[in-house]
Amino acid sequence: MELFERLMKLDRRWVFLLLIIVCVWAYASSFSVPILVMPEVQSIYDKVEGLPEGSVVLVAIDYDPNNLAELHPMTYALVEQCWRKKIKTIFTALSMNGPGMCVQAIRDITDSVSRDKEYNGVMYKGREVVNGVDYCFLGYKPYYAIVILGMGQAFNQPYPTDYYGTPLDEVPMMRGIINYDQVDLVVDISGGNITDAWISYGQGRFGFDLALGLTGVMTAQYYPYLGSGQIIGIMGGLLGAAQYEKLTDNPGRAKDGMRVQLPAHLVIILFIVMGNVGFFANKWRMKREGRA
C-alpha cells in the first residue's frame, strides 16, 4: 500500500530527471519511432508517387526563418522525393525571406541527391541535379495574389527571368511549360496568409491540384478546405513533416524531433497514469479502512 502512496507523492525532480534522460537519450540516439500516417498526408505522397518521370511539381516556399524548424523538413522530404523520381520542380518564393530558405534547401538537397541511396526498398543512383534542367527557381516577387494569378496565364509573365537572371524562355526545362496547365501538382509550404491566396486565387481560378504544408498552429483552420475538396492534402507542423519523411523513407529533422516528442509525451502520460493509479488505490484503501 505504501507503494501507491509513493506513486502519488513522488518528488517532482524524478519527473524532471526521467524527462531529461529520455529527451537527451532520444536526441542523441538514432532509433526511429513509428509514425502514424494520416490520410491527408498520405494523399500528397500518393499523388507525387503516382506522377511519371518528367512531370512537373511547383513547390511554393512561402515561409521565413522563424518557421524553418517545422517547414524545412517538409520541403526537404518532398523535393528529394521529386528529384529522385526525376520529377522536375519549379520553385517560387512569395514571402520576403523565402529565397534564402529556397536556396539553402536546393543546395542541401542537391548534395543529398548526388549520393546513392535506397528509399522504401528501391535503390536510386546518385545523380547531378542541374539548375534549369531538373529545377527552375523563379525567386521572389511582391504582391503574391497577382503573381499567383499571373502564373496562371504564363510563368514568364510575372517572372521574365529566373532567380539567377536567366531569361525564362532560355531555361531548358521551361520549354513547353507555359502555365499551371502543364503543372501536375502545386505544393504550398507556408507559414502565413499566402496560403489563402493559393487557395482562392490559384486553385479557385485555375483548378490545379493543391497540397499544403503548414505550421502546427495554422493547421486546424485549413481542415475545412480538405473537406470541400479544394486541397488534396495537408501536412501540419512537425507532425505532418515527420509523416511525410516516413512515407518517403527519408528520415530528417522532423523525425528527429518526433523521436524526442513521442517518448517525452509518453513519459508525461506515464506519470499522469501513475498518479491516478496511486490516487484510486489510495481512495479504495481509505474506503476499506473506513468501513473496517
Binding site: R12, V15, I269
Partner: protein
C-alpha cells in the same frame, strides 16, 4: 486637491479617448497619436525610478547581510556594462583603453554600493574616496582616449560588438533556457494536478490525455484519436474561448468605465 485633480484628468482624457474611437478625422487622429506618445514617453521616464529601485534593493540586500546578497554586485555591474556598451562604439579599428574604462567604472559602481551599504563612518569615508578616485580616473580615460566615443542620440551603440556578444551569449541562452524549463514544468504540473478527483478534473484530464496522444501510434484507434483531438481543439475549445472572451470584454469595459467615472479609486493612493 491632491486627489481631485488626478481623478479629473482620468475623467477628461478617458472620455476623450472613448469618443475618439468614433471620430476618424485627421485632427482627432493627430491627438490620438500625440497622446499615445505621451504614454510612451512617461513610461520611459519612469524607467529611471525602476533602475533606482533595483539599485536600492540590491544595496539593501548587501546591507542586511542576507545570504546571497553579494550576488547583487553581479546584477548592478551587468546592468551598468550593458548600458555602457549601448551608448559607446569604437571610432577606429582598435579599442584603446575601452576595457580599462569599463573596469574602472565597474569598480566605481561596486564602491558606490559599498558606500551605501556600509554603516560606520570610517568605512563610508574610505569607500567615498575610492569611488571618487575611480570616477575621476574613468572620466580622464574617457576624455583622453580617442579610440571610442559616446553616441547618445544615434544608435551606434546597438552595433557595439560587446553589446551584441552580451545579448547573444549571456541574455539569449539564459532567457531561452528559462523558457525551455517549461517543458519540465508542464510535465510536473500534469503529474501533480491531473487526478480524476471529480467530474471536472476528470474532463480536464481526459481532454489533455486525448490531445497528448494525438500522434501516438501505439494506442488502438490512433487515427480516431487524432481526429478527436482535432475536433476538441476546434469545437469545445472554441466555444470555451468565445465565452471567456465575451466575459472578459464586458469585464474590461465595466472596470474601465468605473475608472473613468471615478467609482473605482483603489489604484490611486491617498493623502
Amino acid at each position: 486637491m491632491r486627489r481631485q485633480i488626478p481623478f479629473g484628468l482620468v475623467f477628461i482624457f478617458g472620455i476623450f479617448m472613448v469618443f475618439q474611437f468614433f471620430v476618424p478625422h485627421e485632427k482627432s487622429e493627430w491627438v490620438y497619436e500625440f497622446l499615445l506618445d505621451w504614454i510612451i514617453v512617461i513610461g520611459i521616464f519612469a524607467l529611471a525610478l525602476g533602475i533606482w529601485s533595483l539599485f536600492k534593493v540590491s544595496v539593501e540586500k548587501i546591507k542586511q547581510g542576507k545570504e546571497g546578497g553579494n550576488y547583487s554586485y553581479i546584477t548592478l555591474v551587468g546592468l551598468y556594462m550593458m548600458m555602457a556598451f549601448g551608448f559607446t562604439q569604437q571610432t577606429g579599428d582598435g579599442w584603446g583603453l575601452y576595457f580599462l574604462w569599463i573596469m574602472l567604472c565597474s569598480a566605481c559602481i561596486v564602491s558606490l554600493m559599498r558606500l551605501r551599504a556600509s554603516t560606520d563612518s570610517g568605512k563610508k569615508r574610505m569607500w567615498a574616496l575610492a569611488s571618487g578616485g575611480l570616477l575621476v580616473a574613468a572620466v580622464l580615460v574617457a576624455i583622453f582616449d580617442d579610440a571610442w566615443a559616446f553616441f547618445l542620440y544615434t544608435p551606434e551603440g546597438l552595433e557595439n560588438s560587446m553589446f551584441e556578444i552580451f545579448f547573444d551569449h549571456i541574455m539569449m541562452p539564459i532567457l531561452a533556457t528559462m523558457f525551455s524549463l517549461l517543458a519540465f514544468y508542464i510535465a510536473s504540473a500534469a503529474y501533480r494536478a491531473f487526478r480524476a478527483r471529480n467530474v471536472l478534473a476528470s474532463l480536464l484530464l481526459l481532454a489533455a490525455l486525448l490531445v497528448m496522444s494525438r500522434f501516438n501510434p501505439f494506442i488502438p484507434g490512433a487515427e480516431y484519436v487524432a481526429n478527436a483531438s482535432n475536433w476538441l481543439m476546434n469545437v469545445p475549445n472554441l466555444a470555451a474561448q468565445r465565452a471567456i472572451v465575451i466575459g472578459i470584454g464586458l469585464g474590461i469595459v465595466g472596470t474601465a468605465l468605473k475608472i473613468i467615472l471615478g467609482i473605482e479609486r483603489g489604484y490611486m493612493g491617498r493623502g
